[in-house]
């Protein structure tokens, strides 16, 4: 965790923070607009502040806003957020090989903070989980620095959005910067033909099934993409061998 000196005194902590800065403007704009959107949709500033501090997930917050305003049942709101956050569960499976070196308390502590950018930048910086305790410390220090700055920037910009809600018109659509940040990450993941196929199938399925309640279209899209990829990976369509 980032308050552990063994992490923040490690050089990898700084490297993690530097990498976060590469996508920070998108995160700040997204955080700002999420704060603005919550207040402008009619949530009280107290509730908007609590949501920013506790949830720390822009896409789940945005998905929850209309449901909260409409007075939807709590379980529907939670189920919707779960579907929107399914991608994190998928990331966590990949991260498991890095995490199991640490006690559960440490895993949960850092796990809460691993957002989209942090996952992608971390596995890009550490393609293989280390076997040595030195390497594992470097991984944890990097992840701590990377997550810390991302979290801090999100909180500051989100709370600024709550305060400035009356001054920033939603019509400007600044929140699109957050979509572009995720979109840029998506582009960076397009390294093999199979991944591009997975993206295309999931994207098409998510749009086609958009009318499903509780964002179940996301579950449908993941299932469709995985099924199609498993079927065609042994065929010539798959192109070059997937290496990671």
């Amino acid at each position: 965790m980032f308050f552990d000196p063994a992490n923040f005194r490690h050089p990898a902590f700084r490297q993690g923070m530097v990498d976060t800065l590469k996508v920070a403007p998108g995160i700040w704009a997204w955080g700002l607009m999420t704060g603005v959107a919550m207040v402008q949709a009619g949530l009280s500033p107290t509730m908007a502040t609590l949501m920013t501090l506790v949830i720390y997930g822009g896409s789940a917050q945005l998905a929850a806003i209309p449901l909260l305003v409409a007075g939807a049942p709590v379980w529907v709101i939670l189920a919707t957020a779960f579907c929107v956050n399914l991608r994190f569960a998928v990331f966590s499976l990949h991260l498991r090989q890095y995490m199991m070196a640490w006690p559960r308390s440490q895993r949960l502590c850092i796990g809460y903070f691993i957002a989209d950018m942090n996952y992608v930048q971390f596995v890009h910086s550490y393609p293989q989980a280390s076997e040595t305790s030195e390497g594992q410390r470097s991984e944890m220090a990097y992840l701590s620095g990377n997550c810390f700055l991302n979290w801090f920037g999100w909180q500051v910009s989100g709370l600024a959005g709550v305060v400035l809600a009356a001054q920033v018109p939603l019509q400007w659509g600044l929140g699109f910067a957050g979509v572009l940040a995720l979109f840029g990450i998506l582009c960076s993941l397009c390294q093999t033909r199979m991944r591009v196929i997975s993206l295309a199938v999931a994207g098409a399925a998510a749009v086609a099934a958009y009318a499903l309640p509780m964002r179940l279209n996301i579950l449908v899209a993941i299932a469709a993409a995985v099924a199609v990829c498993v079927v065609i990976e042994q065929t010539p369509l798959a192109g070059k061998k997937v290496n990671s």
């Binding site: 009280s44 709590v74 956050n85 990331f91 966590s92 991260l95 949960l108 659509g173 979509v179 572009l180």
Partner: protein, 112 residues
């Protein structure tokens, strides 16, 4: 603020924790068959695409039916920049900046 709102916010925070830690909460071996292991390597990009693609292509609950949508041009410009700069450190940041530089004038200026 009502108590039910507080519980909803805390519940959503718990969802964040549980989903982000989902597969490393337990120490037990994961009993996945081999096809599932192969399939799951395609899941991260699918899961992200399932969230991002509708944000660009869906309007009022259905696929966009007009070209006059600033998101389409912003995303296209961003992708164009990314693949032009591919492999360089600031490519994702550039995607955001170039995309917004195209998106904002269309959105604020022309109201697309």
């Amino acid at each position: 603020m009502e108590l039910s709102e507080v519980f909803t916010a805390l519940g959503l925070g718990l969802i964040t924790l549980v989903t982000r830690c989902f597969f490393f909460i337990s120490e037990r071996e994961l009993p996945f068959p081999s096809w599932a292991h192969r399939g799951l390597q395609y899941a991260p990009i699918a899961a992200l695409a399932a969230v991002v693609v509708p944000e660009i292509l869906v309007s009022h609950g259905a696929l966009v039916t007009t070209w006059l949508d600033a998101r389409l041009f912003g995303a296209a410009a961003g992708a164009g920049f990314y693949f032009y700069k591919r492999g360089q450190g600031q490519a994702v940041l550039g995607t955001i900046i170039v995309g917004m530089a195209v998106y904002l004038p269309l959105r604020i200026g022309l109201g697309w």
